[in-house]
C-alpha cells in the first residue's frame, strides 16, 4: 500500500513537473517563440518571430546545454535573431546596431529544468528530419576548416571563433554543444525543410562533406573557443 501511494505521488509530481515546464513556456516564452508550428511561410511572417521556433526543440537541442543556457543565456547570433533588424549603415560596411539587441531572460535552475524537460518532448516530423544521420568519426580542425570555408564558403555568414567570420548567422564554434548531431546533418542537408524562409541557403553540400562539417563542428566545440572569449 505504501509503495502504491509513493508510486501515485511520484506519477503526480512527474506530471506536475512536465506541465510546469509547458506552463512556463506558454506564459513567458510564447510571445517570442512558436511552440506549435508550422514554420513561417513568408519572410514578413518570419521577421515577426522574435526568437527561434521551438516546436521541434526536442529534435534540435542538446538538453544539457539547453538547461545551462536558460539559466545563464548569452548571445549566439552576433546580430540578433534576424540580422536585418539589428544593423545600421557604417563607414566601411553595415554594422551591428547594439542598441536594438535585447538580452534573453534568465530562468531559475528549477524553471530551466522544467522548461528543458517540456521542450525535449517537442519533436520534429519525419519530413523535417529526412533520412540522413550523423555517422560518427572525427576530423582535424584544419582539414575541417577547408571543407567548411574553402570548399563551401560557410564562414561568410558564421563565426568559427569569437571575432572571426560572418555575423549574420549563429556562431558555429558552439554549434555542436548546442545541437544534436543528427539535427545538424539534417539542417545542412535541407534547411528549407525546417524553415522555408531561413536565410541559410541549401548549398547542396555532398553527403560525405556534410558528415565532415559536423565532425568539424564537434572538433570546434571540443576546443571551447567560447570560454576563451
Amino acid at each position: 500500500m505504501k509503495y502504491l501511494v509513493l508510486l501515485i505521488a511520484l506519477s503526480v509530481s512527474g506530471v506536475a513537473l512536465a506541465d510546469g515546464g509547458m506552463d512556463i513556456l506558454q506564459k513567458r516564452c510564447v510571445s517570442c517563440h512558436d511552440l506549435s508550428g508550422p514554420a513561417a511561410q513568408s519572410v514578413q511572417e518570419l521577421w515577426q518571430r522574435k526568437g527561434p521556433d521551438l516546436f521541434y526543440a526536442g529534435s534540435k537541442y542538446n538538453a544539457e546545454w539547453l538547461e545551462k543556457w536558460l539559466v545563464k543565456p548569452r548571445r549566439i547570433r552576433p546580430a540578433g535573431h534576424h540580422s536585418i533588424q539589428h544593423i545600421k549603415p557604417g563607414d566601411k560596411r553595415d554594422m551591428i546596431d547594439a542598441t536594438t539587441l535585447r538580452p534573453h531572460m534568465a530562468l531559475s535552475p528549477s524553471d530551466a529544468e522544467e522548461v528543458t524537460e517540456a521542450l525535449m518532448k517537442l519533436k520534429a516530423t519525419a519530413e523535417m528530419m529526412g533520412t540522413t544521420v550523423f555517422k560518427g568519426g572525427s576530423i582535424s580542425t584544419s582539414f575541417g576548416e577547408m571543407v567548411f570555408d574553402k570548399f563551401n564558403g560557410c564562414m561568410a555568414c558564421h563565426e568559427i571563433e569569437p571575432g572571426f567570420g560572418g555575423l549574420s548567422g549563429p556562431e558555429v564554434y558552439t554549434a555542436a554543444k548546442r545541437y544534436q548531431a543528427d539535427y545538424l546533418v539534417s539542417f545542412i542537408t535541407n534547411p528549407q525543410a525546417w524553415n522555408p524562409k531561413t536565410p541559410m541557403p541549401n548549398k547542396h553540400v555532398s553527403a560525405p562533406n556534410i558528415q565532415k562539417i559536423v565532425q568539424y563542428l564537434q572538433a570546434l566545440a571540443r576546443e571551447n573557443r567560447d570560454e576563451k572569449k
Partner: protein, 116 residues
Amino acid sequence: MRKNKLFLTLFVSLLMLSSAAWPDDAEDNYKNYCWQCHGMTGDGMGLNVQDMSVQPRDHTSAKAMGGRSDADLFKVIKEGGLAIDKSVLMPPWRDSLSDDEIHDLVKYLRKLCQCS
C-alpha cells in the same frame, strides 16, 4: 449565389494559407537573403564582408552590373557563384526562391544599378 461565391473565395483562401511557403516580393527577398552580404543599400558592403576572401558585388554600380546579362544574373542567383565561374561564397538560392521570385529579383537588381 453571392453567398456561394463568398464561401468559395474563403475556401480557396484557406487552402492557400495551408499550402507551401508563399512567394515574397523582390524587396523582401532582397532584404532577407541578400542584405547580409550585399548590404542594406546593395553597395556590396554588408554585415558579413569583414572576413570574406572575395568581396560581394556592388549592386548599385552600373559598371559592375552592366556587364552581366539578365540570364547570367538569374543563373547566379539560382545556381550560385560557381555556376558562372565566380566565388563559392555566393550560394545557390534555388531552394529558397522560385523561378518567378528570381526573375523579380533580377528586375530589382536592374533598378538598383539603374542599368540594363
